[in-house]
């Protein structure tokens, strides 16, 4: 079996995987990082979004081997285990940006990518357009949009990528 090595949440990891092992399987089943979810498994719902070298990607549509040598960040990597939440996580909590929570990790990882590309001041239209690749079946998006706007404001400027990596 091919070996793969990458950095996940700042830690060097290696594993033996089949070539067909998806990144999300590697994260969940090999590394037991189950915060990244599989919703649709067809690249549409965004529950599996993680950052690969700082850029949001659907980990159900990437092979683990494509990430050889990459820096991967999952929802578990945003805050220290017992430390304060990341500002974007805190904003989702504050604004009740979730109900069942299934889509939330992907929403938050995508939200950070929106900040990376569009900055800290986000209007509602931009957020809604940019959430095109994330589906929530509970909330009607209203509080998610509010949470992302608030979280973006509370994030340090220009350090988005550091915060996410």
């Amino acid at each position: 079996m091919p070996a793969v090595s990458m950095t996940v949440n700042g830690k060097a990891v290696t594993g033996d995987v089949e070539a067909r092992t998806l990144l999300v399987q590697f994260l969940r089943e090999h590394l037991r990082l189950t915060g990244t979810h599989v919703g649709c498994d067809t690249s549409q719902c965004g529950a599996c979004v993680v950052h690969v070298d700082g850029i949001a990607a659907k980990s159900c549509t990437l092979l683990a081997l494509q990430c050889e040598g990459a820096k991967v960040t999952t929802i578990e990597g945003l805050a220290e285990p017992n430390g304060p939440l990341h500002p974007m996580q805190e904003a989702f909590r504050e604004n009740h940006g979730l109900q069942c929570g299934y889509c939330t990790p992907g929403m938050i990882m995508s939200a950070l990518d929106i900040v990376r590309r569009h900055g800290n001041e986000l209007d509602e239209h931009t957020i809604r357009e940019q959430l095109d690749g994330n589906i929530c079946r509970c909330t009607g998006y209203h509080n998610i949009v509010k949470a992302i706007a608030a979280g973006a404001k509370n994030m340090p400027k220009a350090s988005t990528r550091q915060a996410a990596e």
Binding site: R20, Q44, A57, K58, Q130
Partner: protein, 267 residues
């Protein structure tokens, strides 16, 4: 997904060598068309040859009166390229309209064009600007490249390295986006470069992307939405599925062509 062997060459020559040695191999670009198809077991390549480490396949450059885009340039990067936005904004709008943000972060122009999905966006721009597809072996004119649904003039062992677009004075793309998949239910690219007028349609035809000669003829007098007023195209040869009938797609072709013209002419 069936299993396969995985290769990561660093040069086009190595990639071509791997293709020659693995007749059932597939090239992997962004993987956002190929991996979903493999997950459904609709494709079973013996090997995947990942092009992401191959040098010299990314970037957008202006070369004289042309824009040259490397085959592995991701949609998100092409969409915000200052060179492209300055020289040919109508083309920059195409990668910006693909799928969703995460798909645009991975998908590439070369992958989209080589796959020739009948609902993909880039084929409309490539045909609609009369682009040239440059491979490791030759140059292929867009008019000769797209040969039917999911099929192209690419031969075994041929790898797209870049695509060259002549800068058109007027160019625009309009799509009716399928709300779930992000694909074009119908998309129309229009352009005018001197006497060369093109109207290319994706999403509608059952043979993939095609040109609407009757519209192009009518636009020769005046390149404006008005020139197409009252014009329609027949529904024969249009796709029909759960998302839209052939008649509806034919209707969308003329509506979107007029909208694209209005955009291209600043109207």
């Amino acid at each position: 997904m069936y299993n396969f062997t995985f290769h990561r060459p660093t040069t086009v020559r190595q990639a071509a060598g791997l293709l020659a040695r693995n007749p059932e191999a597939k090239l992997l670009a962004g993987g956002h068309s190929l991996i979903p198809v493999m997950k459904q077991r609709l494709a079973q390549p013996s090997a995947l040859i990942d092009l992401s480490l191959v040098e010299g396949l990314t970037g957008v450059e202006q070369k004289g009166r042309s824009i040259v885009i490397g085959a592995m340039t991701r949609h998100a990067d092409a969409a915000i390229s200052p060179v492209l936005q300055q020289a040919l904004p109508g083309l920059a709008a195409v990668p910006a309209a693909v799928g969703d943000p995460q798909v645009r972060n991975r998908g590439t122009i070369g992958g989209s064009v080589a796959n020739n999905d009948p609902n993909a966006d880039y084929p409309a721009a490539v045909l609609g600007l009369g682009a040239t597809i440059i491979t490791n072996k030759r140059r292929i004119a867009a008019d000769d490249f797209f040969t039917g649904m999911f099929s192209t003039a690419l031969e075994d062992g041929e790898i797209i390295t870049k695509i060259s677009f002549s800068i058109a004075k007027k160019a625009a793309y309009e799509k009716f986006k399928h709300p779930a998949s992000g694909f074009a239910l119908v998309g129309v690219f229009v352009s005018k470069r001197g006497a060369d007028i093109r109207v290319a349609v994706t999403g509608a035809g059952s043979n993939g992307v095609f040109r609407v000669k009757s519209f192009e003829e009518a636009l020769k007098k005046r390149f404006a939405a008005k020139s197409l007023e009252g014009m329609t195209i027949p529904a024969t040869g249009m796709n029909s599925d759960i998302h839209a009938s052939a008649e509806y797609r034919a209707h969308l072709v003329s509506v979107l062509a007029r909208r694209a013209l209005a955009k291209a002419t600043g109207g």
